[in-house]
C-alpha cells in the first residue's frame, strides 16, 4: 500500500483548482454581482428550524424560504429595526411569499413616429423575406443586441440567447392568444441600464422589427427575461425565481394595443388639441389649454432608457396630477370617444423627444 503522502499527492493532482490557489477573484465582476445580489436583501432573523439544518441534521431538500432568498426574492420578514415580530411568526418557517397579482408592462415601445402603449407592430412582417428573422450579437463587454423581425421563430431566438448567456424565456403567442399571467415574480428593482426600450433597427426603415440592448453583466442571480412575442405586441418582464411555462389562453387585450385602433395623437389636425403643440412644454404650460377646451386629463408616465435612444416604456398611467414642472412630450386621446387627453410625461427634461427620437417636426409635418 502506498504511504500517506502518496495518497494525498494523488488526491492533490485531481484537484480542478490547484490546492492553495483561489478559485474566483473577489474583486471580479462575478463576485461583485453576487455580492450585490445577496446584500440587496435584508439579513433574516435567525430561525430555529433552519439553523438546525445547517449545524447538523441533513436536509432532505433545500428549504423553500432559502430558495426564495437566493433567487432574489425578498422573503417577507419582520424588520430587524422595527417592531419585534410576534414570536409565533418568528418560529414559523418562512414560505415563498404569496405571488403578487401585480401586472406590470415593463416595457412598451414607441418607435420613431409611432405612439404606443405596448410594443406596436403592424402587419407585413413577412415582407422582408431576405432578412433573417432575428439577430443577436454580443459585444466583448457583455452587452447584447437583439434584433427581431419575425416573431414566430421563438426557438431560434431562444437558442441564440442561451448561447450568449442571456437568461431568457421566449414564447410566441399566435393571434387571439396570450400566455396566462402571472407566470412568476416580477423584479421590482430593475437595475439601471439592464435593457433599453426597443428601438428601430439601425439602417432599416421603421417597420415591425425592433432592436433592444441588454447588458448581461447586470443580471442578478435567478433573474430571467420573459418575453412574449407576437405580431401585435411584445411584453418583456424581468422575473426572479421560477417562471411557469406559457399556457396559451384566449386574449384580446394585447390586440387592443395596436396603435391605430387605440390611441391617436391629439395635437394633429382633427384631434382635440389641434393647433396646440404640447411637445417639450411643461405640464404647467399645457394644462390651462386642455382645461379651456373642456377636456379631462390623465398622465402616462414614460420610462426612458439611460441614453435616450428613442422610444420609451410605460411605467404607469394615472389620473392623479403630476408636478407642474414635468415635461410633456406628446398628447394622445382615445381614437374612439375623445374628450380625455393622455399626456406622455417624464419628471425631467431630455435632450430630445423620446416619443419621436428627436424633434416632433422631423416626423410629423402638417
Amino acid at each position: 500500500m502506498r504511504n500517506i503522502d502518496d495518497i494525498d499527492g494523488i488526491t492533490r493532482a485531481l484537484a480542478r483548482v490547484e490546492p492553495g490557489r483561489p478559485g474566483g477573484d473577489p474583486s471580479g465582476a462575478g463576485a461583485r454581482a453576487l455580492l450585490a445580489a445577496i446584500t440587496g436583501e435584508r439579513p433574516a432573523q435567525p430561525e430555529r428550524p433552519e439553523q438546525a439544518a445547517i449545524t447538523g441534521e441533513r436536509l432532505a431538500q433545500p428549504e423553500r424560504s432559502e430558495q426564495a432568498t437566493i433567487t432574489g426574492e425578498r422573503p417577507e420578514q419582520p424588520e430587524r429595526s422595527g417592531q419585534p415580530a410576534p414570536s409565533d411568526a418568528r418560529r414559523r418557517p418562512r414560505r415563498r411569499p404569496a405571488r403578487r397579482p401585480v401586472r406590470r408592462l415593463v416595457l412598451g415601445l414607441a418607435g420613431a413616429g409611432l405612439l404606443a402603449a405596448g410594443i406596436a407592430v403592424g402587419p407585413g412582417l413577412l415582407e422582408e423575406g431576405g432578412t433573417p428573422s432575428y439577430a443577436v450579437t454580443r459585444e466583448p463587454g457583455g452587452v447584447v443586441y437583439v434584433q427581431i423581425r419575425d416573431f414566430r421563430d421563438k426557438e431560434g431566438l431562444a437558442r441564440r440567447l442561451a448561447e450568449l448567456n442571456v437568461p431568457a424565456i421566449v414564447d410566441y403567442a399566435p393571434p387571439g392568444k396570450w400566455c396566462r399571467e402571472p407566470r412568476g415574480t416580477l423584479v421590482e428593482d430593475i437595475p439601471r441600464g439592464l435593457y433599453s426600450p426597443p428601438e428601430n433597427i439601425p439602417g432599416e426603415r421603421p417597420g415591425p422589427g425592433w432592436q433592444m440592448r441588454i447588458d448581461t453583466r447586470l443580471f442578478r442571480p435567478g433573474q430571467t427575461f420573459v418575453w412574449t412575442i407576437s405580431e401585435r405586441a411584445t411584453t418583456t418582464y424581468l422575473m426572479s425565481g421560477p417562471v411557469a411555462p406559457c399556457v396559451l389562453v384566449p386574449d384580446t387585450t394585447h390586440d387592443l394595443k395596436v396603435v391605430e385602433s387605440d390611441y391617436r395623437i391629439a395635437t394633429r389636425k382633427g384631434g382635440s388639441l389641434a393647433g396646440f403643440r404640447v411637445d417639450e412644454k411643461t405640464v404647467g404650460e399645457v394644462l390651462p389649454e386642455i382645461e379651456r377646451r373642456g377636456l379631462k386629463v390623465e398622465y402616462l408616465i414614460m420610462q426612458v432608457a439611460p441614453d435616450n435612444p428613442g422610444g420609451y416604456g410605460e411605467l404607469r398611467t394615472q389620473t392623479e396630477p403630476v408636478g407642474d414642472d414635468w415635461i410633456v412630450w406628446e398628447a394622445e386621446e382615445p381614437a374612439r370617444g375623445p374628450g380625455r387627453i393622455r399626456l406622455l410625461v417624464t419628471d425631467k427634461r431630455f435632450d430630445r423627444n423620446p416619443v419621436y427620437g428627436g424633434p416632433r417636426d422631423a416626423v410629423i409635418q402638417e
Binding site: 494523488i10 474566483g24 465582476a29 453583466r217 442578478r220
Partner: protein
C-alpha cells in the same frame, strides 16, 4: 445595523477565493459550482450573526458549502445563480483542467467511486489543505474521529487504486509543484 453588512462583506472578500475553489473542485459544471457558491454565501448573509470570527469563518463556510453541495439539486430549466459573470469566471477554472492524461482520468474515476465521506475527507486534506482539527470543525466531528476516518479513507483509496492496477509511474508529475499541505 451598519455592522452586519460590513462584516459580511469582509467575510465575503476573505473567503470568496477559497469557497469558489471548493465548489469548483467538487462540481462537474461551472453552473453547479456557481449555484453552490451563491447559495453558500446567501446562507452566510442570512446567518451572519452565527458566522464565527477569524479563520473559523472559513471553516464554517466550508461546512455550509458541504451541506449545500449535498443537497444541491437542479430543477430543469431553473438555476439558483443565474449570473453570467459568475458562470463565466468559474468556467475559466474548468478550462484549466488538471492533467487529463489517461492515467489521471483512471485515478479520478476511482476517486469518484469512493464513498462520499471518504472523498470529502481526502479532499479537505489535499485540496483545501486543512489539518485534522480544522476538518473536525468543518464536519462537526471529534478530532479523533477525523483521524480514524481519514486513515480508513486513505486506505480504501489506496486499495481501490491497487485493485484497479493503476500505476502511478511518476509521482512528481502528479503532485503539483505548489505545496499546500499544512
Amino acid at each position: 445595523m451598519g455592522g452586519e453588512p460590513a462584516r459580511f462583506e469582509s467575510v465575503y472578500q476573505e473567503t470568496y477565493g477559497r469557497i469558489t475553489a471548493y465548489a469548483a473542485r467538487r462540481c462537474d459544471s461551472p453552473q453547479d459550482a456557481a449555484d453552490v457558491v451563491a447559495e453558500t454565501f446567501a446562507i452566510a448573509w442570512r446567518r451572519i450573526g452565527e458566522v464565527p470570527e477569524g479563520e473559523r469563518a472559513l471553516l464554517w463556510l466550508y461546512g455550509v458549502a458541504r451541506k449545500v453541495l449535498a443537497n444541491h439539486y437542479r430543477v430543469e430549466g431553473r438555476r439558483q445563480a443565474l449570473s453570467v459573470e459568475l458562470d463565466a469566471e468559474l468556467a475559466d477554472l474548468y478550462q484549466a483542467a488538471p492533467d487529463s492524461g489517461v492515467e489521471l482520468a483512471a485515478i479520478a474515476q476511482i476517486f469518484r467511486a469512493l464513498p462520499d465521506n471518504d472523498r470529502e475527507l481526502l479532499s479537505l486534506v489535499a485540496w483545501e489543505g486543512l489539518d485534522r482539527e480544522q476538518i473536525a470543525t468543518v464536519l462537526g466531528l471529534s478530532r479523533n474521529a477525523v483521524r480514524i476516518r481519514l486513515h480508513r479513507a486513505r486506505r480504501r483509496f489506496a486499495r481501490a487504486l491497487a485493485e484497479a492496477d493503476v500505476h502511478v509511474t511518476s509521482e512528481s508529475r502528479l503532485v503539483p509543484a505548489q505545496e499546500g499541505r499544512l
